[in-house]
Symmetry: C2
Subunit: 199 residues, 2 copies
Amino acid sequence: MAAAMQVVDTQGAGAFSMRALGAFLECDPTAMYRHFTGKNALLDALVDSVVREGAATLPETDDPRADIRENFRQLRRSLLAHPTLAPLVLRRPPGVGAYWERSDHAVAQLHRAGMDPVDAANVYQTLLFYTLGHTLSEARQLARAVEREGAGAEGGPVAAVRPPEDRHPDLSDVAPHLRDDNEAQFLAGLDLILRDLPR
Amino acid sequence: MAAAMQVVDTQGAGAFSMRALGAFLECDPTAMYRHFTGKNALLDALVDSVVREGAATLPETDDPRADIRENFRQLRRSLLAHPTLAPLVLRRPPGVGAYWERSDHAVAQLHRAGMDPVDAANVYQTLLFYTLGHTLSEARQLARAVEREGAGAEGGPVAAVRPPEDRHPDLSDVAPHLRDDNEAQFLAGLDLILRDLPR
DNA sequence: ACCTGAACACCGTTCAAGT
DNA sequence: ACCTGAACACCGTTCAAGT
């Protein structure tokens, strides 16, 4: 799996193949079928390991809102560390499986902040889907750079919108306020969703 | 393109190939290279057509909030109409290109409701990324069904969470409140983000 | 138990050749 | 202008054979 992740990170998930992994490990491409049922299972395992990354050490301070922020911030960072792999999280149902610890932590903090279960369920799901949408979009732009120039390339802002001004006047008005800093923009969305968390 | 969409919808985007399209059109698989630079360009065109679907006829009533809801509700429905194609929206930068009309409409309604440009930019992006995250997650579950049973299959709820109760007590508390109705759940998230839209 | 290598049924794309 | 068909360099996966 470590080798597979290395191939994915350096060549991109698109160039990852059983044959490429075999070449990297200097073994026959079919040897992996002893250890994984196939390419899909291997990729699923990689994705799950990324989602689980750091989920066991999520903070629990006296500020539940900050702890929730940190939870999703960390999920974002883990996914962005492997931009070409990130879109494959959609292969797994969200919120279950590898997400257990993370989900439980987020819901626990919402509960701790005095939110009732109905609101907590709603807020939790909105946070998760927002994070996935934002992060996968950003990852795609990053991935484009990786696939062109190899590992370590940099991507531009996720939404540097420059619409044709004459045809879309309203959009042109807000365009300057779409932040260049993707992380700040991401956190602003989290805060919007968490805006009236009790206390 | 119509033929390509038909192949994608019936066989699934995973089974879509130049050779499959050639067989469907009863022509040589390489004939398409006269009309599209390659498979990627063809898929991008399909994705753009889905994103643009209905964007020209978005409502503009005296209730801006309802109009925004309808905008994203419609984007969700268009994407879910082609569940195996939906994840490929990530191939295109969000909010630009095929999104122009849709983005401009949403921002115009936020503006019309009295929101200042900074907040409008933040709310708009949060709505878009939330919608993408929610919809692509739902589409994947639907796609699984399509690929197993062919077109027209039904998927389950996007998040019927049944966590191991002993290990994740907080999550178990909210699980019953995660709605089975995916559309209702989706709209609840939109309303959460739009919660204090002026007027 | 684990690895090898041939084989099968596929891919996207290019290019010379046809009409 | 458009289509064909051979060809190239790839895929994932299976299976009999080895150690």
